[in-house]
Homo-oligomer: 455 residues x 3
């Protein structure tokens, strides 16, 4: 009875959120000039999307597939949780993208209006990845209402942290390993810590595990994420930088994949391959190369990073995750710490190293595109942003930039953990329904499931 | 015996259709000039596809995924009909695209030849959506031969109606909600009415329903349709209009999705989410914004339309469809009335409203691209198309254009219903095999199904 | 015991291969100039990827989906082999792409360095198709270690044969039907011949067959291959040639599909459709048009080729494959001979015919792009490549070019068969673990499979 009422009130409050979004869009959001009709004069510009967007729309759609098919099916690996994996993924992402456009728009607002173009959609999709990563840590142990409210808080925090990291501290993170992957993973783990069972009934849920079929569905997710990761990492780069990001991500993923298979066989029982590793650790190469994929790491650098990422991810699944569960009672259903968390930290460390080695002679005119704070001192004069100058925004040395990279990941992890702990505390409030152990990892709590014997 | 003979003769007649297509292509179809080798002179044009097509090929491929994966898997939700859903979808679409190129080519033929370019492929894919939508209404209740012959008739009627609506009446319908979705849905429903069981044995088929597994497969279809809908709606627009179409479709889908989840929980049994709603009503936002997505509806307009679409679609599934089945005995297996029919009518109504509000000051030079009949009177002089002038083709006011939009949807629905009724009558002829109640909604009638116990 | 040791040593030797790759990348591979930062001067070139690559990245991603999702899921049709189909496909492809970049780079090396750009990734993906096609012939009958070592040998041979065919003999093969599909198919069949059971226990494996579910998963593979085949065939063409390649592939696939359904019903038991045909023969249209899709075959030529391909492929599955199994004991699990082998030979024959008919008046300036050896004799003077002149590289007549096309396919099939026989012999060595009959076509040998009853 109480349960039904709580469910209903949760959904109704989400509807109110949607109505609030409508009002905010009405008041604050307008098309950007490039999406508006032009005056007659410049006829030549009228044909086709703005050049930049011609090249970005296909990459946007690749990312769109990652968010809505990739994450969705990757999470179908639980044997009785496919409706929730695909459905809640869609629900969370559809709410988040609307919210991300608003919150990121408010942060960067200039004339009191948020101006929408294709770029906002790419940013919104990337932002949606953040709560979906956290959802992976919590998969099966929350109600949809908890997930949705977590997503709303998390995306606001993410947007603020990202603004500080990229726009104030000028760290480089083109593939979002620091701001997206590390943030999403550690936030989710912190929420998971808060939601851990109060007593020590730390047995695995009876439905927590894959079936042959659910593991096959999960491969749909893995493969689409794997395929389109070069688009994710290169979407915010341009020109030769984008091409390097594509090449490096491709090579890192390939090397991580070979490493994953080999190590999975070596560390697993009877040297049999483990689908958990294949579904997840193969992707760690995409995360680990994220922050450096547009740098001059060389094709061999990408291969090396892939090998490191695959190794650490498989070892994390095999040894670290069970330890975290047993010692800290942190459940991590999808193992996001091994797929997103640790590889993102590795990426940040590599970014510090490569930043510290960056030279004007190598990067030429793109040095200032990639590391805006390393623009030389003559340009300080023309800067109008006092904050950036105070923070050493301009004229940084390569070594300083390396330090900033490390500070960026430290800050991000700290904000994510503190934010996650507080959010987890809120989600445990008695006014919000929590799932019992018996209700976890199965669809029946929230879905009408066909009566026939399910297999 | 008779059944086997009838099956065989049906397939053989389809082969004859394919041979006729071959002959028609041989006689009438040639490459368009842009797909032909050029003379040596303009070297610069030789590099890469024609500019327009550079930007359209990725969108074409997105639509291609919608037609061949999206529709196919969306229809796998029936527990014993996955071969037919994916197989017949492919069969119908492969025949239809060849036919659509011919029939649309004949209608617009100029020098006695049909000229093929990438554009024809996009048009053909969009045309294939029409019989596939109708197939959704009939899913599991027809033989493949009935489906294929229905598709041949329907696509011819569709092409004629589309020509009248867009080229003669100059209505605006960039996403095809009127000409594609409304036509396909009401045509299919009319066929369904004709094929309803003669006696009142109106019980649901014993195989009509999902399994846990089939519902998961169906989500593949839903998600790819959801993801690529902005490409469908924007494929025929250019420049800033295309970018608005993308943005509006994205927002409308997101808002419809949140609304669908919320309303599904509110109206369903025990407030549990219903996969039928999640699979279908989430997409209603793409249909409802179709006819207006390139207009200046504002981001908030898109969100509003999404909320309306999700609401009407869920309520349609919950209340209207059971009524139509019980009162008129119109079966609608996939609920195309709630996904395509009603949202398309809503889209048409919105298009009338926004057309009536269209001002030259807002749309600037694009007014005549979007509403060709609103080109100002000076341009009448240079027009060579007498029909358009007679029909008030030029110099329309915004209010008149709004009226034409309403006439467009009314005509389309009328043509679809009358055409569907006549087609349904033809398909019931005794020379064509019909399925018995017991043969419905299962693959075994037309497929070799593995002998093992199926789950 | 021995088995465990053999498994482990196999995986460890693959890890050594990955480390060797790392060293080779370190020493030999650098970014191509287009992926490197530019000097300041030409500002306009800095915006966006190089023009050519703007248009190629979406096509690259389409091919990427074909290789990693298309091939993977097409091979899930066996009821107990989905982990291996999707997993080993990923493993083989991830190793192969790294290797293909190296080996193709070494062959075309100019200044002692391999220069990487997006083009290398497209080439690597296409090369990955070769061992995956062979894997289809062997599916379920090899260990992953055998597959991986086969892939390494095969890709080296493929690259050498392709270099001779395209660069020395100047045959035309834009869609790779000759160099990719024929090579992969006949190589795989030759390996299969060597790995056939020594005694005559030629019964089908007990797990060799589909389930309802596995057949549905396989349709994911079929449909994505079907959809993106136009990208595969057109990726290496430009301008109008690419547009023709897209149009012709689209039409050929559509016609092959209709033909496949019709013939499947005609030749199958009780005139029921056979999923094997639908999953595979529908794709034969893409292979059969591959070598000629950029030629002036006309839309009707494409439809005709599709009809021929669908016919031969279905008849091959129905009649030829059982004969090959019973007479030569060549197993061909996926029927690659019917999907890749015979359609590729047909494509080569068509390419000889169309090449022999090629006229300067029709192809204009593109004649020399498509048939470089038919460049007129005046250009011989400026040639610096003695080999090409000796081989009749320049000034070929159309008839001669037709002959070269036939020589190209003959050489390719011969190299593939001899190479496959030798490779098969190597894979049978006692130091490499072979699967027993009872261990075939099931995942449990190499995967941790959930204990629950599988369905």
């Amino acid at each position: 009875m109480h349960s039904g009422y709580s469910k209903l009130s949760g959904f109704i409050s989400l509807f109110i959120v949607q109505i609030i979004f409508l009002v905010l869009y009405w008041v604050y959001v307008r098309y950007d000039v490039e999406a508006l009709p032009k005056d007659d004069v410049p006829e030549t510009e009228g044909n086709g999307l703005k050049e930049e967007h011609v090249s970005k729309y296909p990459q946007f759609q690749d990312i769109h597939v990652m968010i809505f098919v990739g994450f969705a099916f990757l999470m179908t690996f639980l044997k009785k949780y496919a409706y929730s994996a695909t459905g809640f993924n869609l629900f969370v992402a559809a709410l988040t993208v609307q919210w991300a456009i608003l919150i990121k728009g408010f942060i960067k607002m200039e004339d009191g209006m948020i101006r929408m173009s294709l770029e906002n959609l790419i940013d919104a999709d990337i932002a949606a990845a953040v709560p979906l990563i956290s959802m992976g840590a919590l998969l099966g142990r929350t109600t949809p209402i908890q997930l949705l409210f977590m997503a709303i808080i998390e995306v606001a925090l993410f947007a603020a942290n990202e603004y500080v990291a990229l726009d104030i501290l000028s760290i480089t993170d083109v593939g979002g390993s620091i701001t997206v992957h590390a943030f999403g993973a550690y936030f989710g783990l912190a929420v998971s810590l808060m939601l851990r069972p109060t007593k020590d009934k730390n047995v695995a849920g009876k439905h927590e595990g894959p079936s042959y079929n659910s593991d096959t569905f999960a491969m749909i997710g893995t493969l689409f994420l794997w395929i389109f990761w070069p688009s994710f990492n290169s979407a915010l780069a341009d020109g030769a930088d984008a091409e390097r990001a594509i090449i490096n991500t491709y090579l890192s993923l390939a090397a991580a994949t070979v490493t994953t298979f080999v190590l999975s066989a070596i560390v697993s029982h009877e040297n049999k391959l483990d689908m958990v590793h294949v579904q997840n650790s193969t992707l760690a190469g995409g995360v680990a190369v994220g922050s450096v994929c547009n740098l001059l790491i060389g094709p061999h650098g990408a291969v090396l990073i892939g090998i490191v990422a695959g190794t650490i991810s498989v070892l994390g699944y095999r040894y670290l995750s069970p330890m975290l569960t047993s010692s800290l009672r942190i459940h991590d259903t999808c193992g996001v710490h091994n797929l997103h968390g640790m590889p993102a930290v590795i990426s940040a460390i590599f970014s510090a190293i490569y930043a510290a080695l960056a030279k004007k002679d190598d990067y030429k005119s793109t040095l200032e595109d990639i590391f805006p704070a390393m623009a030389d001192s003559q340009q300080i004069e023309s800067s109008t942003n006092a904050t950036e100058i105070i923070l050493g925004g301009y004229g940084r040395t390569a070594g300083q930039q390396g330090g900033y990279q490390l500070f960026g990941i430290a800050m991000t992890v700290a904000v994510a953990i503190v934010g996650g702990l507080i959010t987890g505390l809120l989600l445990k409030q008695t006014c919000i329904r929590n799932l019992n152990k018996e209700e976890q990892h199965e669809d029946e709590q929230y879905w009408e499931v066909p009566a026939e014997k399910e297999c």
